[in-house]
Symmetry: D2
């Protein structure tokens, strides 16, 4: 009821605050007998971790995951997978200045109102550090469905917007630059822009696009748990996300049916794919693609007006090390949350026949 569990057949429950002893989770429902590739899990964590380049936060967190159960002799046993990521770089004194202050557009104020008090160190449970557990679970989810390919990339940073469709892009370039934008020219502009934003002590929002290829037909449930509804929830549950659209998205709302309808080829594929690979909430075998909008990070390296717990005026300024733009590190989070959703539906589909 308190919303720390995601998924039904493949299900992740997480715990942990950014400045406690550690974060972790329990995965229920991973099938038995999967030979896990632990390097792949660590690779995903490394893509998410702070300090990987000079356009993201310079915090050093190693983010090593320790598995406690559910794996025996390298294979999943079908029992719950418990895991832990220790917090090693706990500079909670970085946060003493916000103990009594509500940072604008953070969750400080609402936590105090909801729970009566809060763990003020680094945002506590509302910290984006919580997503590290999602990446672990997603990296395992991917190994349940190894034939399905998840590719996320940055398609917007502030006003810099990539206008190409995903078909026109060279995905092999994504991990070749710090921004994780497959268009190298655009990536370079974005990088320059982010550096400038950081110099200003400011932050900027962005867009992550994601494509899921080689999806079997039939995933998704027809009413409340439509495939895109769960994907949407998964994405909107990531810190800083403000919007989600799939297939034709908001542009589709401007179109006529005679243009928008995806006509069939005789093999069951469609000529266009405005549907975004999903019809009636169920995958149709075409590529699934969607976009996720991230707001600018709320922590600024400049002074802002705010209020104290006692509702007095004050000012607050970010300390420590923060991302000027969250989207490069959000790429693996988006991908791995998508993998959790698809693995869950993949398993749920076994129940229907």
């Amino acid at each position: 009821m308190t919303g720390n569990t995601f998924g039904k057949a493949f299900s992740l429950r997480t715990f942990g605050e950014s400045h406690g002893k550690g974060l972790g989770g329990i995965i229920e429902g991973c099938p038995a007998g999967i030979v896990l590739d632990f390097d792949k899990i660590q690779t995903e964590l490394n893509r998410r971790k702070p300090g990987q380049s000079n356009i993201v936060t310079q915090r050093k967190e190693e983010d090593e995951v320790v598995f406690y159960s559910g794996i025996f002799e390298g294979k999943t046993t079908g029992t719950p997978i418990g895991f832990l990521i220790h917090n090693k770089d706990e500079k909670s004194k970085d946060y003493d200045h916000i103990k009594e202050t509500y940072r604008p557009s953070h969750a400080d104020y609402v936590y105090d109102k909801k729970y009566g008090f809060r763990d003020y160190r680094g945002g506590g449970r509302s910290s984006a550090r919580e997503t590290v557990c999602r990446v672990v679970a997603g990296a395992i989810a991917k190994q349940i469905i190894p034939n399905i390919r998840f590719t996320a990339y940055v398609s917007g940073v502030g006003e810099l917007q990539l206008n190409s469709t995903y078909k026109e892009l060279d995905f092999s370039q994504i991990e070749q630059n710090k921004v994780r934008c497959p268009d190298t020219q655009m990536a370079s502009e974005m990088e320059t822009y982010i550096k400038q934003i950081r110099k200003e002590g400011d932050t900027v929002g962005g867009i992550v696009s994601c494509v899921i290829e080689n999806v079997p037909i039939g995933l998704g449930e027809p009413v409340f748990d439509k495939l895109h509804a769960e994907l949407g929830k998964a994405m909107l549950s990531i810190n800083a996300v403000k919007g989600f659209e799939y297939g034709s998205g908001f542009e589709g709302a401007k179109m006529k049916g005679s243009t928008h309808n995806d006509l069939y080829n005789t093999d069951g594929t469609t000529q266009q794919n405005y549907s975004g690979g999903i019809q009636g909430g169920i995958s149709n075998g075409m590529d699934i693609y969607f976009k996720v909008a991230f707001k600018p990070v709320a922590t600024l390296m400049q002074s802002q007006k705010s209020i104290t717990k006692d509702h007095k005026e004050t000012t607050v300024e970010g300390k420590g090390r923060h991302d000027p733009c969250v989207v490069p590190r959000a790429v693996p989070i988006v991908e791995n949350m998508a993998a959790i959703v698809i693995a869950d539906f993949f398993l749920r589909n076994k129940l229907i026949v």
Copy 2:
């Protein structure tokens, strides 16, 4: 696991196909002792029902709800509320032409692939008629939280887009026109446009905007069940929806933090509201507002190429009575799904203290 249940503390499970005997649902978790206003429930159903004006489908469905349980002497008893809406206008012969044919951008094809066969009459379970049950539940949800005001309206039909913010609009005008657009000038243009689209045998997409006012601080759960994540899922689970954004939405992704951050007033309200009334997944007491993108209805009154079950080429043309644009009738669906989400979080909040 098959996704016909929505909500946790206040929870709706639905059943029913568009051309079976009827549709219905069971609401679990409605608190005891609420004196229900049945007229309000019927009013919501009337706002959703077909045939209300000449810009929506001309099907006549009375959509009278019969309650079977959970209510005694006009009050909720705390036990499950079972309800039924009989299907009265079951012209299933209207659908004989699609028995062997997959309509483009409908769910026919994926149902056959997922389940092995399908109820082909009127889309079966994938029909938007399923939303009638959501409206019943939403109309009850609203009565659990009578002080919270839900207002949805049409803000876009095809290229016709309302650019005013919700603060500039006169909500009292919404129900005064067939389109349910609060700007009467725009409403008139939209109406004309929809009529033209219908004449062409075509359809067009649109946008529904929604505002939730007078929300208590503290609703929503911090991680997976963020308030906007559940709202997003609720909206994306409505037929034909392609996108969801709240607060600054996709525009927010272009902004800088120094602009986007909502600075506090000393009373805890904020000067702007780019956050859309939600911070860290939890309501902050400011208005919640969001937009929902609907694709054009897939059933056209014109001939389209398609394929048969045997993967032969064929053509298909809509028969019966269909909406040229779904958004006017989607307005109460959006509102009532929002009410279900908020009532659920309102109840869940009782558990935390």
Copy 3:
């Protein structure tokens, strides 16, 4: 959260009070493509219905089930199965005398305390009439797993206890007598005894035993959802049940390990079956057997002291038509609840490999 839903993969949510318009339910998770035998469903309902013999209540309820959805051309579609049983014999005036009175060992008092008021007609939601929905769902569950055989029977009425093991009994006799006891001599004694009890205006408790044969190895989950834990919950959720034991049960608590351990045959079967077909919460392919204890029905046809809503002394005496002993009619309820549990685990097992 209000506990009107049972099962995870195969899941039943019910509604309905004994003297409202009707009772019904929604089954989620029934796989697609099952050709339903409706006669079998009605047969189960007939076994449960009142008025079938002179040792059970003489109320006449036809208990015809109407299916609203989820079935097309005789086959399940994989979408939710909504069903309704109308209440036809609603003599709610039979209950006017208890409007202001709390019947001893009924739920009247606790309902008023929990919910603030209650539907006092016939026990409302706490009536055993609620179990009619379970029988419908169980009768469908059985058709998902047609090879598994469920056999319940009466093994005790008051002090009359059947001492034979189930292996020594002739199950074909169960439906040949009114008591549903497979030992015809004992059945006759029980029948005589129940008639005498009824004459006294009294009631008596009893035991239902149940055997599940031909269960595949591997059903059940190892920790909280052990097969016998779910079976136990299922049985304990039936009205009037006071105890549950499986395999060696309470007698097993007196035994030594050297006697109790079930030694293996080389084919994996065991020489005895004190385990009751379940080891570590998981079926081992041997017969599952268990016993369910039912208390005497609380409604007596004799005057008893009680209290009013205002906590004044009063007397209360049963009116209408009630069972002197509930176990003959409980036999199909036990069987069908067992079928729901086993079907649920049968489906859940598909997720693990």
Copy 4:
């Protein structure tokens, strides 16, 4: 779906095998602001731990719990409580002899059949060591509802059965002897008997009784989640449990209604309490009491015939340190599982009004 989660409003998910790195869990739904008494938690763990006396297993496990989250400055924050108990005494070589052998009445065989293989060290996930996590969660649950008193005790070891009702017993004696039987004379006999059983290399079953005092009226849900149904499931989910009865239990099945009905006093209490404090699934404010039957431990220190993975005949004999009788250590497990159930219903009750 794999059944490693228990509870709805107060919910525990666990992980861990007996010979992996550790066991742990995540509690969701613990309300915010509770000042936790950590000594009480450790005391409960100490009551359960091996090696506390010479009638239980001599394994040394310290069972220290480490909390990772959800607690800040000594108080619960309302976010999930993650905890871990490291396995320190991992002599997995003790189990090499069962790598290829199925121990009688253990879960070895069914695990192999269900999952395809198993973690054979110490029973893996099916080890009773898993209950250590339940004790942690129960010890926290008790602190949510400090006014409710949970008292379990041993009332039977083999044929030695305590015939007194709980009212006749002196609960202060329970922790004064190794058996945890409040009757000191009987405790002494039981202790002697258990020592003799151990000398024989055998094991013996037993009964744990439990009483819950000072329960508010109104806990429990009327249909599937009856208070006693959840209690029953909770108990039956504990390793080695074969039966559950509450109130009059199996004896109640022999009684007449005129004897069994609990007549009211004018204050709403009842003169007797055959109902066991629960009517219609809902607590009535009287004491809740129930019995739990435990089979003899399956691991014997004597040679038994068995089979190998290849279905060859073999013999197996227990190695390492095992309990000759499980009930003394089961006492805190029963109590703490009861506390989880009651705390869950206590919270769920907040939703209904």
